[in-house]
Structure formats: C-alpha cells, structure tokens
C-alpha cells in the first residue's frame, strides 16, 4: 500500500495549477479530496509523476447564487454542500445527496469537482447534477468553457475534459418557484457508507440514475412518460430502459434493473409529496 514515488506540488492559485497541468500534461494528476486518487495510487494502479494538490485553493471554495444558477466552486467539500443554506433553499436535492456520500470523514475531504471529474458511475453526485441539468465549467490556459453535464461523460472514468483542463465550477439551475414537481433521492446500499448498488435522483420530473451503466444516466423513457401524463407507477416501470447495469458481488444486472424501477417509483412518490 505504498505508492510509486511522485513529485508533489501545491500551487497557490488556479492559474498556477493550470500552468503546471499544461506543463506536465498526462504525467500529472490533480489531487483534491484524494478519496478516489489515493487508493488507486496505493494499489499502484496509478503512478503519476506529479501530483498537483488543489485541495487548499480557497478560490474554488464557494457556493453562491449567480443569476438563475447556483454556482458551486469545484473545491467545495461534500460537507459544505451538505450544510449549505443557499443550496438548502435553492437546490435542496444536492445537500440531500451529499449527505449520503461515504461517512463524515469522507465528506469532509471529498469535493464535488473531484467526484464529477472522477466519473465513477457508482458515485451519487454526478447523477444528481445530471438530473439537475447542471453545467460543468472547465478552465485551461486556452480559456474557459461550459459543458452541459448531459454531454460531459463519455464512459467509465472518462469525460470530455481535456488533459489541460480543470473543473473550476459546477452550475445548477436555481429551483425556487420552478420546483413544481419536487425532488427526492433514493440510494440503495448494503451498508450505510457503501457506494450505491443503485441510486435514483429525481428533480422536477427529471430522473438521474446511479450505477446503471458506464456513465450516470437519465431515465429518459420515464421522463417522457411523465411528460405525457403517465402515472408514477407506469413511468417508473420504464426506468431501466436504455440502461446497461453492471454485474458485481452485490448485484446482478437483472436485480439492478428491478431496483432502478422500485427506487424510481419511490423517489417520484416522495417528490410528489406522496
């Protein structure tokens, strides 16, 4: 459990971090909370030459209302998302999801940017931001661009982020009065601090699925059925359409499909106040 030797840098600004990333390219890796990176380094599955620690960049540490969105600095810890008053009012789904990540120690270190960048389909926050129709803001020495989260993920542990880019912000629409159809999060685990076997995030009639394929997914058939006025039961029964759930020691694909339907129904019922 001792990683391959590596160099370590702790730049004091985002620009300095970006310069380092540009200089070292794929030989460098970003360290934020470390909960995904450090285990794979200790197992020697990853051996970066340079680890760039952005964990103390306070300029990435904010949650604020910005026009029609809430802007969340990528360095915000899960715990900060969990207890944010802004989010509690404007985007209550996110604190509810953050509260289910790991345990308190994990939540005090892990960051929302790190979780989104790592692109583990079993992670909760990517599916929640997907259900929220959020945007991922990427910055590089070449400039800044915003990518809709619906176009961000390309596969297991992979995204459209270029090697010289850093996630600096996540933007999610303010719910406020528009939150007509409510929100809910259902996470099915064996133990309290496990990854989800399946998770379902529902907000305003949109449904994000955790661990039902190689990326976080939207239950599009369910959403369409709801828009067409289908009952919650009928719409939820479509939740596993166009998914490709994995097999592991905890679940078969068939079981995951079943869980996706049950959890979607429950989340929709909760969201509708039922």
């Amino acid at each position: 459990m001792i990683p391959v030797g590596f160099d370590y840098a702790r730049p004091d600004s985002v620009d300095a971090a970006l310069a380092l990333i540009a200089e070292h390219g794929e030989d460098a890796t970003i360290l934020a909370g470390g909960h995904s990176l450090l285990p794979v380094m200790k197992l020697r599955l990853a051996a970066p030459e340079l680890v760039i620690d952005i964990g103390r960049l306070t300029e990435l540490n904010y949650i604020r209302v910005d026009g029609d969105d809430v802007a969340i600095g990528a360095g915000s810890r899960h715990r900060e998302v969990e207890v944010s008053e802004v989010l509690a009012t404007e985007v209550p789904l996110l604190p509810a999801v953050a509260r289910t990540v790991g345990d308190p120690q994990v939540r005090h270190r892990g960051t929302i940017g790190g979780s989104l960048a790592h692109a583990d389909p079993a992670s909760d926050l990517p599916a929640a931001v997907l259900a929220l129709n959020g945007m991922v803001v990427l910055r590089s020495p070449r400039g800044e661009r915003s990518v809709p989260i619906t176009q961000f993920y390309t596969g297991v542990f992979s995204t459209v982020k270029e090697p010289d880019e850093l996630i600096v912000e996540i933007r999610v629409p303010r719910a406020g009065a528009q939150l007509s159809q409510g929100w809910a999060f259902e996470k099915f685990t064996r133990r309290a601090n496990d990854w989800a076997i399946v998770g379902v995030a529902v907000v305003d009639g949109r449904v994000g699925l955790v661990n039902m394929g190689s990326t976080p997914l939207r239950a599009s058939a369910t959403e369409a059925a709801l828009a067409d006025g289908a009952s919650i039961e009928d719409a939820a029964a479509l939740a596993d359409q166009a998914t490709d759930p994995p097999a592991d020691t905890a679940a078969t694909p068939q079981y995951r499909r079943h869980l996706a339907k049950v959890l979607t129904r429950r989340a929709l019922q909760t969201a509708s106040g039922g």
């Binding site: 459990m1 285990p39 020697r44 345990d103 099915f188 133990r191 020691t249």
Partner: protein, 757 residues
Amino acid sequence: MSILGTRVVRTEDPVFLTRGATYTDDLTDERLTGALHLTLVRSPLAHARITAIDVEAARQAPGVVAVYTGADLGLDPVVLFPGANKGMKRPWLATEKVRFVGEPVAAVLTEELYQGPDAAELVEIDYDPLPAVIDLRAAATDEVLLFEDVGTNTAAGHGVDDEPAADLFDGCEVVVGHEIVNQRLAAAPLETRAAAAVWGSDGRVTVFCSNQNAQGARDEIARWLGLDRDRVHVILPDVGGGFGAKIGADPEFALVAHLAKLSDRPVRWSESRSENMTGMLQGRAQRQTITIGGGRDGRVKAYRLDILADAGAYPRLGAFLPQFTRMMAPGTYDIERLDTRARVVVTNTTSIGAYRGAGRPEATAAIERAMDLFAAEIGMDPAEVRKCNVIAPDKFPFTSKGGVEYDSGEYAKAIDKALEAAGYAQLRAEQAARRERGDAKLLGLGVSSYVEITGGGAYAENASVEVHPDGTVTVLTGTSPHGQGHATAWAMLASEHLGVPIEKITVRHGDTDLIPRGSGTMGSRSLQTGGVAVYQAAGELVELAKQRAAELLEANVDDLEVDKERAAIVVRGAPGAKSVTFAQLAEQERLQVDTVWDGQKPSFPFGAHVAVVEVDRETGKVTVERLVAVDDAGPVLNPLLFDGQRHGGIAQGISQALLEEVVYDSEGQPLTATFADYGFPSAAELPSFDLVDMQTPTPINPLGYKGVGEAGTIGSTPAVQSAVVDALAHLGVRHIDMPTTPLRVWEAIQTAAKGAE
C-alpha cells in the same frame, strides 16, 4: 464488599485513548535499531507453475540489501499443522508452484520501508497457469490436485471412515434436509500482521509479533525453523484485535526470524491491508448437508451432519475445527441418534484457521437450520419445537451424542427468558397482521438455542502474583489479551484476596522469557483458566503471608485474616492489635507465589437469542430491528467487560448472517480483498442489543466462571438467518444461505413467487 461482579472501568483505556497503543509496527525498541524492512513478492495467480524467477534487477534497485527466493533460504518446506495430511507442506517462498493468490514467492530486504515495494516490482516471475480448485465439491473429486505427490486434496477426515448409520431415521414420521453453506469470513483486525526479529550474540532470536499466544508462537517458530525452543524469545507488544486469526505464529514470522539470521541484521515486517485480506488466516468455510427426522409431535429423533470443509491451500488449524463442529453438532438438544462426519479439502485459497467461535458457530448454525426446517415441515412454532427437544435441567452433567460432557445448563429457561424479553407472542401477532395487510415491510422472528465449549483444549493456565515492598503488585499470566480487558479483570481477581487497589496492580503477559508457560487467549478460555489461576495465586499468597505474619504477630495462623482496607494481615477480632501489611512482609523477604490452575475440562456456556428483522419485500433488504441475547456464562466478574464481549460477538454474528463473505471467482481471484468490497459492519447496520442476564455457575472451577468471548457469534448468527427466512416463510421460502444479502433475499422471493404461479 467484594470487587467481583462490579462494573470496574477498564484500566487499559487511558493509555489507549491518550498516548495510544504500541503495536509491533510502532516499536522503537533499541534492539531493532538499523532493522531492514521486508517486502514480500506475492503470487497474483491462484494456481500456477513457476517457470522462472529473475531477481537481478531488484537486487540493483536503490536501498536493496538482499533479495531471496526459496532456493536461497536453506529451509525445507514445512508441515504447518501436524493434525492434517503431512504431505501438504508449505514452502517458505514458493519455488515450483503457487497455490493461492497472495502466496509469498520472493523476499526483498531494503534499508528503508518505502524502497521495498519499488524493488519488489522489479522481481520477474514467469508463471504457467494451472486450473484453480475453488469449489469444495470439485476439490473433493481430486481431478485437479494441489499437491500432486500427495495424490489427494483431502487434508483431514473426521469420522469419514465410520459406516453411516443406515437405520438412522427409522421410525421418523418426518425427515427433512438441506445443503447449506457456512461461508468463508475474514477476521480483518484493525492491526494487520506484523513481526520483527533480532538475533543476539548468545545465539537466541527475539521475535516481536502481533499474536494471541506468545508461548504457542514461540513453539511454532522453533519447530518450523528447527531451533531449540529455548533459543526463541517471543514478545507481544499491544495487539490490535485477533478474533482467532492470530493464534500462534504465521509462517511470515518465522521467515522474518530466518532472514534476520541470513542478513545478520534485525528485520521487520508489517503487512498492508491488501496483503492481510489474502494472507491472514480466514474462517468458517464449510458446506454442510443436514438431515433431521422425528415425529409430528415435535420430538426430534435423529440428526445427520455431513461436512465438507475448506482448509485453504495449506492446512492449518482449520483442518481440525470441523471436529469441534461434530462435537457440538446436537447443540442443546436431547437427540437419540446422531451421525456426523467431516472431510477437509485443500483449495487454491487463503488458509483457514480459527475465527471467533471456531467450529462451534458452524455446529449451531447447522442444527438451528435443521430445527427450523423440521418445525416448518410439521407446522409447529420454531420456539416450541426447540423447547420440546432441549436437554432437561435434571440431566446434568449430560453426556451428549457428540461425545462431550455438558457441565450445567437450563436451556428451556434461557429460551423462555429470551422469548419473554422479546415479547414473542405479540411479535407473532404483529407479523400475521402485516402479512394480512400486505405491508411492504415483512417481519421475521428467529430463535436460536445454543451451547458451546469454552476453554476447550488447554484446560490449565499459570499465574504468578507478587507484592512488592512499595505495596504494588505484579501479576504474570500466560493468557494474552488483545482487547478483552485482562489487565482490569486479573487485577480485580488479585485485589479480591489482597485488598490492594487495582491501580496498584500491574498485569504482565506476552513475554516468553518472563512467562515461559502459558496458552494464550483463544477459545473463550482466559477467565476460566488464567483468571481462576490468578485468583488461586493471590489466595495462596495470602496463606504464605499469614505463615510469615504469624511469627511476627505472635499469633496462630488460624487467627489471622486479611484487612482489605489496609492490605494487611491482622489478628481476627482484635482491633488495635498488631498487624503487618503485605508490603512490610515483602520488605523482609520476597513475597511471591507461582501457581497452576488446572480445571481438567472445558465448560459449556449456553443461551438463547431472538432476532427481529424487517425485510423490504420489494428490494430484499434486511434490517435488524432487535437482537435479544440471553448468554449464560456463569457468574459475571465485570459486567462492563462481559457486555463488551457480547456486543462484539453479536455484531460479528449479525454480520455473518447479513453481510460478510470472502468471495473468489472461478480462477481463484479474490473479489473481496478491500474494505470497500468486504462487507464488515459498522454501528449503522446494527440495532442496540437487548442483553438479558442469566447465571448458572459451572462446577468445574471455584468461581463458577465460563467463557463469553465467542457466545455472540454462536447465538446471534442463526437467530438472524432464521429471522430472515421466517419473514418469507408464508411465501414458501425455507432457506437462504448466508450472507442473506438483498440480492439473495430478492431472488428467494422471486423464486417463491414463480413456484406459487
């Protein structure tokens, strides 16, 4: 007032909670100055021939002092456990073939700890893969052999040559059976394995290691390395949990000692969590075929238990433990006819040893499943079936059909107490109401009745008590705590005789030069052996003190007594008369006693557990709502320690029923070798436990003490498993293997629904 039976707060804890413990890897002992660090290169394959090993590149790596392969060691493969097939020897470092993922193949010694893994990566080993033997039934066919020259995969047989009783179930109106699995578990102590060794100029080796039994580890290291036992000195620093997996030495400990000899430097080793999850002994791992027969009146007449047990790749204590399972097979029940046998086979997996309960939970799980199947078949309440078959209280001592003598027991009373505390009748009504209403959450009730062996194997233990001139006391014990609280408990037992406050009593253990004799802490043996020995030693010390005081006080020995307030010998009924304290006596002449207590047999604690679970009908998820435990281990020395043992055992027991299993794929790759994948529990998965007291003293020692360290795993596991099945009983479900994961429960519901169509 007696200190015995009181809730004395653990004297161990202030150090653990402030400065922290000193585990083997924390040692700064000057004897280890300049120690080299050992990194083992371990096999990534479960079964393969080694065709080439190239260590040259590793030898050139920074900080490398030496790289060894098996050929460099000058040691022959060794029989680790003499109770199994003696042809199944373990090489110190594999040379011809590897037999499990994690088997050591090369050893790298480096100046610095961090240099080891880098150099180890440069060791090149070519493997020629062989088919892996993982399934026990496949192993038993001998189609693929782990040890070709042995000619069989059978490591041990217990009763396998006995002719099966053909007429076992004659006269039974009902006979039911099932094949069930008692799954493989990982002990996963917070402190992984660690050892450090240094040779002295006197030709003796000192081995520091993390273990439950210093003397046993010394004897094994000496035997494996062909050394005289006097040349091995074992010291146990603080030990961070064992659960049976740290009984006696591991081959790595002896290897560390041998490499210290070869390199002429101290050597230290501390394994990573990943190594621990494939290298440390694992437990359970039995396939059981149970058959039970009896009358529709609820009386069980006959029971058969056929065991196919896993030894892992190299037989260890696990090759013997199914014998414990056979001994305890009939449990608390008065069964006329019993037939048991066990075959133990090697597979391409981590070796099996003891795991909290060690053979007895497997027996209880089997008979309790059988009782449930029988109850379901005749349509009787499972609690009733148990009560009408348990051994009556007037039959003790009772020689069971398992061939052991139960010393004492009131089994029906224990069941009744558990049922009453649980509110069993009301719960049954609630269960029926939920089924009637079609509730989403089904209620399940599980009842287990158990008896177990504690202090089996080593019945004797030594103790020494000495009062020093400053009034402090030193207790030496051959038991070996690793979390249980012996320092508190043994001080209480000495204080009971001497009156010396426990703060002034130091308990020492785990050093074979200081304490050459002892059998360590395992099998729930410590209190009824080592504790009673300390109590006896302190009593003998009082007698010695009286002899010496009689002269000083010019009194008859019979007229003397202990004034506990002053830790002194006084003349009875003569206030104000002359007295002498133990400390004053020690000033004149060393005041010390060595003794051995030998109970000559084990004791048989018993109890009953009731589990209440909720099962989510749609998802299969099980939540344990309540766990009621009646655990009778005789009088209780310290309720705090007693309940602590029960809590830990129950947690592990519930966890076996619901969560934990070591899983391999068909090629022998472990799928649960990290804490993310292996399902051990946290407090969030457990309810608060309802502990119910019941105390039936054993006649085998003067204090009536039995053991309680493993009771929780023995009683709770079958109760929880039974409760899960019970929740689904109305659907026709009769059995679900452990762990009863959401997936398995959901699949059982699906299968039952299909059957009902």
